[in-house]
Symmetry: C2
Subunit: 326 residues, 2 copies
């Protein structure tokens, strides 16, 4: 039943988001001692997997409800994703963003035709503003991660990965490594992997391990996020629905530090020839450290590719000591 | 008949090289004023389309002949491609390379199991050494570009691109832009586009326009290459067979300078999230300048992605003024 919901989501968003490629890179395989299958969501529309969930959630609304518009709150890629989905469905979008959001992020959301409303600096302030916008406009809230339609939509990335691995090998994945912020991507991965023996690993930045601590405690824990390069992975708490789905299914949670993510980012660039953001390199960083049980065939989700050129330049000068690929 | 030969090549190399993705990037479309279909051969094995032709040429040899080994001469990606094909077919490979080749290129060829023989600094010296190696070993020469099996193999990249465009749109390409060194990739593109109205454009670096000058003169011209960032595009002369195939079919030849290639490389990185080498950015650079006849649907071949991190860092600091993508 779980995987059927993800398949239904895939059917709904087909043609509206891209079927991103699954990449192979023997040079990275050699570094990992495993066969890596890299799901390149950095090549997705808006440069991140977030387009999937938003397109599904907006698409699944009743047409009359959708016509009143959608509203969300975000400091990152989800705002762009909802703006994109609203533009595709030709309905209004409102996005509550922090007053200190980088101008490029504001202009990216506006360029997609959404109305940006600035609201404080915390996620709670943005959510309050979104609720007010809903009252004022009749628009429907599209949650960043704690909503079933979002989870099912994000699960389509894993579904495609599994399909590609099966088509190429006839088999499945021994392990799957997924970066975790609020838990939309990993809860979707859990649904997509229903009925398979794939061991699913959550990866979080050091000091932002809300999922790891929640798994250890058996209930959701608030973790004030520590500074991290992975700005997409710092919600203070994983979603309720996300935790309920993931806690039963995960093999465990791992943390990676900034140096590991920076190194993995540069290796993906120079060896696999794709650009990811630090969050997008987190899963590879964990795989490079070695996974429990020494899985042979490992899925790695490259969640997104949006980063500042200046950060890329810094990471390149710090970590570039190798090149070439096969 | 022409396209059938390319289809046969595709069948022969299937599973031995990768079916690289065709990427879409609305942000680049907007800059170009056209619908771009980017064939990502930077994501190919060894990081360049060269794997296709070499795999086809080596695979098509009679098994008894192949068992004596293969030999080639190269300062770039073709040496790695032949080494890869020989390793896949479990036969010896010999690669004549210049004495001043960068250590990373030598070690990449050696890492694939080939024997590197250093020979002078010019292409003629390397070719002489390859002929000597053939005499000594009974190995078969695999030409870098002037050989039908190589051309047919490189043509499979265009074939896949056309298939992807047809699957997505039901139609074909109005134009196709292809970087030219010796002419293997573009001659293959001409074969693959047989019977279609697609206008095919050759792109060369300024001062290395051997194809452009040859088309203008109606016969092959030697052009001592000027300095260029695009080290893959500086053979002094296009191949005989390559010219014979391309001269009847090309819409024309264009040149781009280092600044245009550098800018296109950084735009591909930040907007399309893929890393290409300067040669690999040449076709986009030409498309960005605007093509004759204002084609709507334009194929762009990203030929490879192997470059030095230090060059990437330099180009990034020179050209990075924008970010984000959709």
């Amino acid at each position: 039943v779980d995987v059927q919901a993800v398949r239904a989501a895939a059917a709904r968003i087909e043609g509206r988001v891209w079927r991103t490629p699954t990449l192979r890179c023997p040079a990275l395989d050699a570094l990992c001692g495993a066969e890596l299958w890299l799901k390149a969501e950095n090549l997705q529309r808006i440069g991140a997997f977030k387009a999937r969930g938003a397109m599904h959630a907006v698409g699944k609304l009743d047409a009359a409800v959708r016509a009143r518009g959608v509203v969300t709150y975000s400091s990152g890629n989800h705002g762009q994703a909802v703006a994109l989905a609203a533009r595709d469905y030709r309905v209004p979008a409102f996005v509550a963003m922090p007053v200190d959001a980088p101008p490029v992020k504001l202009s990216a959301v506006r360029a997609l035709g959404a109305e940006v409303v600035l609201a404080g600096t915390t996620s709670a302030e943005r959510r309050d503003e979104a609720l007010r916008l809903r009252e004022g406009t009749g628009a429907t809230i599209i949650e960043p991660f704690d909503q079933l339609e979002i989870i099912e939509g994000q699960g389509t990335a894993t579904l495609e990965l599994l399909d590609d691995v099966r088509a190429a090998t006839g088999g499945g994945l021994d392990a799957l490594v997924v970066p975790v912020g609020g838990g939309g991507l990993i809860a979707g991965a859990c649904l997509a992997c229903s009925g398979t023996p794939t061991r699913i690993w959550a990866v979080e930045p050091q000091g932002c391990d809300a999922m790891g601590q929640s798994l250890a405690r058996g209930e959701r824990v608030m973790v004030p996020p520590a500074p991290t390069l992975a700005d997409g992975l710092k919600p203070v708490q994983v979603g309720e629905l996300n935790f309920a789905i993931a806690r039963e299914r995960l093999a465990g949670a791992l943390t990676v530090d900034d140096a590991e993510m920076g190194r993995a980012l540069v290796q993906l660039l120079l060896l696999a020839k794709v650009l990811v953001e630090p969050s997008g390199a987190a899963a590879l960083a964990a795989a490079l450290r070695g996974l429990d049980g020494k899985p042979r065939r490992v899925g790695v989700i490259l969640s997104g590719g949006n980063l500042e050129p200046s950060l890329l330049a810094t990471l390149l000068s710090t970590h570039a000591t190798t090149r070439a690929g096969q």
